[in-house]
């Protein structure tokens, strides 16, 4: 059985860049727009690659910076210097 993981981000410049990166790197991820928020769902696993976000922002982006844009998330987290992954065991 696969459950959805999800991440909800603020609708800001950085949030938009992270969203774009997620949608490009995770096939089948679904974006839903709310006032001032963007929620992204995907079955069982979702990866945010630091390199993809950095390319879109034009500067080095650290996965820890996700907290500056983060509203909510669901799933277990695996984070290192290069990526942040949400998944269900």
């Amino acid at each position: 059985m696969s459950r959805d993981v999800s991440i909800t981000l603020q609708n800001t410049q950085e949030g938009a860049a992270i969203t774009e990166a997620i949608l490009a790197d995770n096939e089948g991820a679904v974006r839903r727009d709310f006032p001032a928020m963007i929620k992204i769902d995907r079955a069982s696993r979702l990866v945010i690659k630091a390199s993809s976000v950095s390319d879109r922002l034009g500067r080095q982006w650290d996965p820890q910076e996700v907290h500056l844009s983060l509203i909510s998330l669901s799933g277990s987290i695996d984070e290192d210097d290069d990526s942040l992954t949400l998944f269900w065991r």
Binding site: Q13, F34, P35, G58, R59
Partner: protein, 328 residues
Amino acid sequence: MTIDIKSEEITPRRQTFSHIARRFGTDKPASRYEEATFDVQPKVNFHYRPTYAPEFELFDSARTKIAMKDWYVFKDPRQFYYATYNINRAAMQQRFDSALEFVEKRALLNALKPRQRQKIAFYLIPLRHFEWAANMNSQLVADWAYGTQIASAAAFAGADRLGIAQLISRIALAMGEGGDELLVRGKTQWMTRPEWQPLRRLVEDVLIVRDWFETFIAQYVMDGIVYPVVYESFDRQAPSALSLVTGFMRDWFADHSRWTELVIKVAAAENADNREVFSKWCAQWLPRAAEAMRRLAKTVLGESGDAAPTEAEAALRARLKTLGVSVL
């Protein structure tokens, strides 16, 4: 009684400016950088021509031999607009400040042997004038370049160069314990010492180039020799206290090169004529830049010192090749 709180979503009629939506073909939210740079260049309805160059319009893509179908393909990889530029450079400046404070508190530069101190002053401080000329060149590019993307990045680069000139001045003041004698001597050395004259001559020749893209290339080529030779080769034999305070220049050059090399790569990929013009310009300026540094390198590094500019030249040729420009 129960109260139901409902949220109502009000969707904006459009997500971005119409000209941005037209450019990207969709009405999706654009980044600040995109909104600040795409299709901002004035193109029509110029009332009069510049009195100093009546053959051109006020903004004219014919000011350079380089031809582009679309001038909005030079997206700055760093995406600098006012805010991002200032945030980035303020952080770099702070790193320089704390490095200089560290060095000053421990009097590391004053503790140098007089010969060593003289040598550093001789090769570093006259570069203020090189940086000032680089500022003039960048501002010329910002003034005459067509398409906002190159112009705005060039204006930022110009500000960077003035900043670097100031950092060199501050290093000189730190070395002179607050006195200006090293700055004054630096100017005299730039004007009169035979080791500096080839570079000064080159810099002054580039100042009067009137094709802005040629100015851009000539500056790229000069930087591509001067920066590795001074801030890598000269630095290696200087005491590490100096490397601490010239860290800004190395970081800045790496950052700056991301933009300059993208510009060259994109324009070279556009058509064969551009590549040919680039090759011609590089062939004209690159050997002169390497030659200009030889005598200085010999004085600083000793008899075998002229290997440094030769290596920098070879590295730059290889770099240009990867950007699509072969230099004969």
